[in-house]
Symmetry: C2
Subunit: 261 residues, 2 copies
DNA sequence: AAACCCCACTTCTATATACAAGTGTATAAC
DNA sequence: GTTATACACTTGTATATAGAAGTGGGGTTT
């Protein structure tokens, strides 16, 4: 039994020496190659969760790169959450943690990116702030707001409904820009101008109302995501508050933890 | 007009020189201090989206640190998504992009972390693979699976419902561990053993069924999140497939883009 | 037996240096 | 006037080196 284990380890060691070398003539930088190599070895199971990676000096000697380059590689793996480095002890492969999973809006972004998408302005007029909008935008009840309603179509089918309240300020050119039907696309793929500082986002589960279902060509009660957003300017004041509605059929968030093949 | 602009720029420059210096006697490393300083200047609006940061050599001279240290700082800011570096042109503050927002399971994790949480095993028995479970786990219909149903309580109130199918394999100790009611907590906060390689996660919106509502002390039709998960071993074979159900009242995902105060 | 110190090993910070590679402008050649 | 070249400036990669700081084991002293 012990011998068999030893054999397996030996085989792995041979594989590692045979397969993994840095190609100095490649366009891929040495540090990127080493990241790829180590990730591959973790993915293959040569290094398993809890295992200690070779020390930095060992990696230097083995791959023929300088200490700083190895350092950089380790830092990248730490940032990716694949390994954890403990000063004085070593660098260890992290076990799976559900809590570290992160979801992004890539899928939602795709709805805008492609050419098949269009934004249709349903409504845009000046209104008075009600309780909830006034609270979210930190203005007095009755203050003037611009209410915007948009429908985002993909392949000529409605998939996203957007409602937004923007603080009415004639001096701010933002409003004109926001009214542009193409502004939403810019919101996702960069370039909202330079007068927005940060945004808070919240995702909740909800069910389509009759009105939403009619617009989205769906049925009332269908499960949907509600992505709420609040934008702030550089004075820390909220500028706009709104939310997207999307039925769960058209959108789901995905994430991967660990190192897939 | 031109003079006023010039004055504003001058003021900013003075502020920057006066406020921001590196304290070499601090425990906080120089690179971390510089990251903090630059982030603060971006947050304050000294550098706004689209603006070019000072070049690396300028930062070196200004803060009295070596080029490599500045390099490291810029890399950190790039990794954080706050700036974008373009070779030959400069480093620029990124505008807000909705699409780059990422959500994590921190809130969900908290439900397990605290002492007030408990896991209650509702059901655990061997069953036969049906169409969907068999497809997800890549086994033949009729193969033996372990079906587990758990209820996660927080402050003695049920908040999470978990259902899971695990491939039945008497040689694998995983099953025994999975049956432990405390295993779930470990799943979130690290240490699932070393025999799981990676996991796929999906979040969808759904509505509580009658059965789920009864268990969660809620009502049927209430909007809820469904977090589906599939774990794979080092052979790339699925090991377990299941999903959490949580009403949207108890959980919502949050994210922030840009640099908040 | 217990406490202490030293040493080898690990990761971490920081510097100085060199060259590669992309960008844009100003100048020279045509 | 147009094109081509050279140059200054930018970020990107890689190396060599020094010391700081944390860990753990072995040996000595108490």
């Amino acid at each position: 039994m012990y011998i068999e284990v030893g054999f397996v380890l030996l085989e792995y060691t041979l594989d590692r020496e045979a397969v993994a070398t840095i190609d100095r003539s490649s366009y891929e930088p040495a540090y990127a190659q080493l990241v790829r190599i180590l990730l591959g070895q973790i993915a293959t199971g040569i290094f398993r969760p809890g295992d200690r990676l070779p020390s930095e000096s060992q990696l230097c000697a083995h791959y023929g790169v300088s200490p700083m380059t190895v350092r950089r590689v380790i830092n990248i793996l730490v940032d990716q959450g694949v390994v954890i480095a403990e000063q004085g002890r070593g660098t260890f492969v992290k076990p799976l943690e559900l809590g570290t999973a992160t979801f992004d809006l890539g899928q939602l972004q795709q709805l805008f990116h492609e050419e098949e998408s269009a934004v249709k302005l349903l409504e845009a007029h000046i209104t008075s702030a009600t309780g909830r909008a006034a609270r979210k935008l930190a203005v007095e009840v009755g203050a003037r707001l611009v209410f915007i309603r948009r429908l985002i179509l993909h392949s000529e089918k409605p998939v996203l409904l957007h409602r937004e309240y923007v603080i009415y300020d004639p001096t701010r050119p933002l409003i004109e820009a926001e009214m542009e039907v193409t502004a939403l696309r810019g919101l996702f793929n960069g370039g909202v101008g330079s007068d927005l500082k940060w945004a808070d986002l919240t995702v909740e589960a909800t069910a389509l109302t009759e009105e939403e279902a009619a617009l989205l060509q769906s049925e009332a009660g269908v499960p949907a995501f509600q992505l709420e957003h609040t934008f702030y300017d550089f004075d820390g004041r909220p500028v706009s508050w709104g939310w997207f509605i999307c039925s769960s059929d058209h959108l789901h968030f995905t994430a991967t933890i660990g190192v897939p093949d």
